[in-house]
Amino acid sequence: MAETHSLQDLRQAAVASKVFVQRDYTSGTICKFQTKFPAELESRIDKVQFEETIQTLNNLYAEAEKLGGRSYLEGCLACLTAYTIFLCMETHYEKVLKKIAKFIQEQNEKIYAPLGLLLTDPIERGLRVVEITIFEDRSIGSR
């Protein structure tokens, strides 16, 4: 498959540099990343595409942390069962995190790896940054 082949190429490629997209705290403490386009990526990827990726990520995190009927219900139920219910089922947040992991993998396979970039799931960096690894161009197969 072309996608996995390019991902494997990436693993052998040399890392040129890493770009870090920081958190955006203007809406409070919710998890949100800045959509500002980093200068180092200008030659590699389309600005609109990048912003779309980050925006989707932000929306997913907002969904995870949303306060609403569902989260209250989950919280109350958990309290009543002395939080033993989480031994059997996942929290809503964890479910969304899995969705996010899948989304990032898809984005890497379809969009970023062919361009010589790799997104790292923010949860592996403590939800502080979105780490984008830029690989050197020459190691990627013919375009």
Binding site: G75, A78, R125
Partner: protein, 478 residues
Amino acid sequence: MHLGVEEPIRECQYNQICTHNSSPMDTPHIKKKKNKRKWQVFPGRNRFYCNGRIMMAKQTGVFYLTMVLILVTSGLFFAFDCPFLASNLTPAIPAIGGVLFVFVMGMLLRASFSDPGVLPRATPEEAADIERQIDANNGPSGPGYRPPPRTREVLINGQTVKLKYCFTCKIFRPPRASHCSLCDNCVDRFDHHCPWVGNCVGRRNYRFFYLFILSLSFLTIFIFAFVITHVILRSNRTGFLSALKDSPASVLEVVVCFFSVWSIVGLSGFHTYLISSNQTTNEDIKGSWSSKRGKGNYNPYSYGNFITNCCAALCGPLPPSLIDRRGFIQPDTPQPATQTNGTSACPPNQVQSHMAATNPLLHSQPVILGGGPPLQAKTSLGGPCSTMGPPQPSLPSSIPGLSCGGELMALRDSEIHCHHHLHHQHFISPEETPSPPAPLPCATHLGHHVHPTQLFDPVSQDSLHEDSVRGLVKLSSV
């Protein structure tokens, strides 16, 4: 003779292998080649049990005291008072008592054993990236040039909030996060470090802590009321003194409950107020959102009405732990840079940072109590956090006119440090701003702050600060 010399050496080596490669529950001879789990190289000053499932602070003595007090008092109640009450009043009394007791213990263990919301430290590349950005912002510095404090300003809901740079964790702390000097971690939505619970109280375990003190208030009042009832009923039959002779445990229970009810109920009330206004203990002490600071000062995190604030704090989504204690270390995973102290001895249950150097000043420095250049003291804030503690009422710090005995030093950005011997055992960890001290006389309201100019190099300030803080903690802890 030869063997005699070799034996101790062999023993040392055996111990080293034991602590490096095995978790507390594994036997040493099996796991030599196994990958380490992340908790084994965790850079903070925490203790891990059950192969990383349980996480606590380093000093857990007071936590065991809490457990003993609750268990003993409740045990005496169920053993001595409940049989009488069940047969003479109603068996619902031990039943309700039992439910309350189980709930209290459950919440205590949950608050003590969970990850409070520790923020993992920055990887070396991240740290380098941030340094580059800071240098770019500040410009080059010549010799003798004082680097400006590393802060970023963010506008949140109309309020300007300063994000501070943590020199230990090498990150800009998110809003409401704070660095706990006892555990040497940055904790998200840091409330306080509670020695009674043996852990920090932060975003992930605040609700357990609150439910713990709330249910403990009910349990204490419950036991107190029914022990009194028991003694009165007995006295009606046999006279007061023989009632006491028949049930000696009741006296102990009454004494314990009487002295703890004030502090625990007061603490519950204080935290109820904090929850309803969506503040942390840290913010309340500093008066971050107090209207006394300025006319337009308000809490940008509050949802407006107290019901939403309560629901958000207690029933909101619980974020998962960010530190992945039980994951295996991948050989190519970047490990965060550590610069903290860590003891070089590794008892099986305790994993300190293997990588960090031992800080020689750590346990030996006398406390800088008064005079001299006091660096940063510990804030001791009212009220024992949980059970039957010292007989001091827990006063919400926002009550004006609260006086602190001892020396009060107010530092930049409203870090308030107060030496108390009387008051509470909560330690609010001062944040790591590189600000030198300007000792002030004790102000009646804990909201004053000054802005001294900066004199110290931040990194050495950091380690000095840790030491003084630890020294202070040693003096003022139970």
